[in-house]
């Protein structure tokens, strides 16, 4: 079921940090780093504090700092939900 891409949204408690199409997401969970590509099996993970790297559909890279949240993957929808998160330049 490898579809065109991932729909990613990075959300913090008080705002929508980033959302859009992406080809890859790399995040750091409590167990270690994990990379997610389109067609990944559904997953729910607790995030460790650290960076979430998103490779967007057009190839550019976005890094967000997420703290105390979790990562959910289902049907090529990836949500990074953290109580505090922001884009790092």
């Amino acid at each position: 079921m490898a579809a065109a891409g991932l729909r990613v949204s990075v959300v913090s408690a008080d705002k929508d940090v980033w959302s859009g199409e992406a080809s890859m997401v790399v995040a750091k969970t409590v167990e270690g780093e994990i990379g997610i590509l389109p067609g990944h099996e559904p997953m729910l993970a607790i995030l460790a504090s650290g960076n979430v790297r998103v490779t967007t559909a057009d190839g550019s890279k976005i890094t967000a700092n997420a703290e105390g949240g979790f990562l959910s993957v289902e049907n090529n929808n990836v949500s990074v939900v953290a109580s505090a998160a922001e884009i790092v330049e």
């Binding site: 949204s9 959300v11 913090s12 408690a13 008080d14 705002k15 929508d16 959302s19 969970t29 409590v30 167990e31 994990i34 099996e41 559904p42 997953m43 729910l44 993970a45 607790i46 949240g69 979790f70 959910s72 289902e74 949500s79 939900v81 109580s83």
Partner: protein
């Protein structure tokens, strides 16, 4: 000055001072709605993402966890009511309270005990007037809610959710709040927070579909345990923000109609006062003319 005229003037002055107050409250609320609305809009994606993740897990897996499974028998249900701290907001508080009463009635008819958690001074006043004891009460700051309060409420209801019904815990949690639809419409809404109700956006798996294998890191119990308080807090916080925006909108509308009514009263009394003044003058003239006539006749 005639007695009648004085009474009218007093009434006009009283309506004018009332109008000053209601106008000021209207303007204050109007300026705060924007901000409250922006806060709702900003917090909604988070709440939606959390709820979506939780209901996806509940739909696609059959892991047994308090978050995702229905209890076999519900003995006690909790209702969290979000009212306001201050009045003068039209039907704002009374409509959530009415909705909550209906819900309580329904729950009781299903043989469930009802426990109340109240937010806002008005809800507390309603309960203490009827000599009913709520489980917990939070007052202050309903018009500008902070996340700490949401966390506190979340912890309290989670704690009683995880306790057994025989020890005073609850098996179900409902929230009742005013949902902000737009400036003129705020509807009271009842949502069952726990056990989870499936939200839109997650497709129901068909009967023939095999449930996808959900992967959890580190493991299912730990993830769901961590997710549960986050989920509740986000739902509560969202309800508080919606309620605050509705409170401002509701107050603005109530105060606008109060100011309009004061205007109408002032206009009416001004007419009456003019009338009284006119007839007083007419009477004085006819008295003078009558007096002069009597004098000239006597010559």
């Amino acid at each position: 000055m005639g007695a009648q005229l004085r009474v009218y003037r007093q009434k006009i002055r009283s309506a004018q001072t009332t109008k000053k107050i209601t106008r000021a409250m209207e303007l204050i609320s109007a300026s705060r709605i924007q901000k409250a609305q922006a806060r709702v809009a900003a917090a909604t994606p988070y709440s939606r993402a959390v709820t979506r993740a939780v209901s996806a897990v509940a739909t696609y897996t059959n892991i047994s966890h308090v978050l995702t499974t229905e209890p076999a028998k519900v003995e006690r249900a909790a209702i969290v009511i979000f009212a306001s701290d201050r009045g003068l907001a039209g039907a704002f508080s009374s409509q959530v309270l009415r909705e909550a009463e209906q819900l309580a009635e329904l729950l009781r008819s299903e043989g469930k005990d009802v426990a109340y958690f109240l937010v806002g001074r008005k809800a507390n006043a309603y309960f203490s007037f009827r000599r009913r004891t709520p489980e917990r009460v939070w007052t202050g700051g309903t018009d500008a809610p902070v996340f700490e309060t949401a966390r506190e409420i979340g912890e309290a209801i989670l704690e009683s959710f995880l306790r057994d019904a025989s020890e005073g815990g609850v098996d179900e949690i409902h929230i009742v709040y005013n949902r902000f639809v737009n400036m003129v419409s705020q509807v009271p809404e009842v949502v069952r927070v726990l056990p989870l109700e499936i939200v839109d956006g997650v497709e129901e798996p068909g009967d023939t579909d095999v449930l996808p294998l959900y992967e959890f890191e580190p493991d299912a119990d730990k993830v769901l345990d961590a997710l549960l308080p986050v989920y509740i807090e986000s739902r509560i916080y969202n309800a508080m923000l919606q309620s605050a925006a509705s409170e401002h909108a509701s107050r603005q509308r109530a105060m606008k109609s109060a100011s309009d009514n004061a205007d109408k009263l002032i206009r009416e009394y001004t007419r009456l006062a003019n009338n009284a003044r006119q007839s007083e003058i007419t009477q004085q003239i006819s008295e003078i003319v009558g007096g002069a006539d009597a004098l000239s006749d006597a010559k």
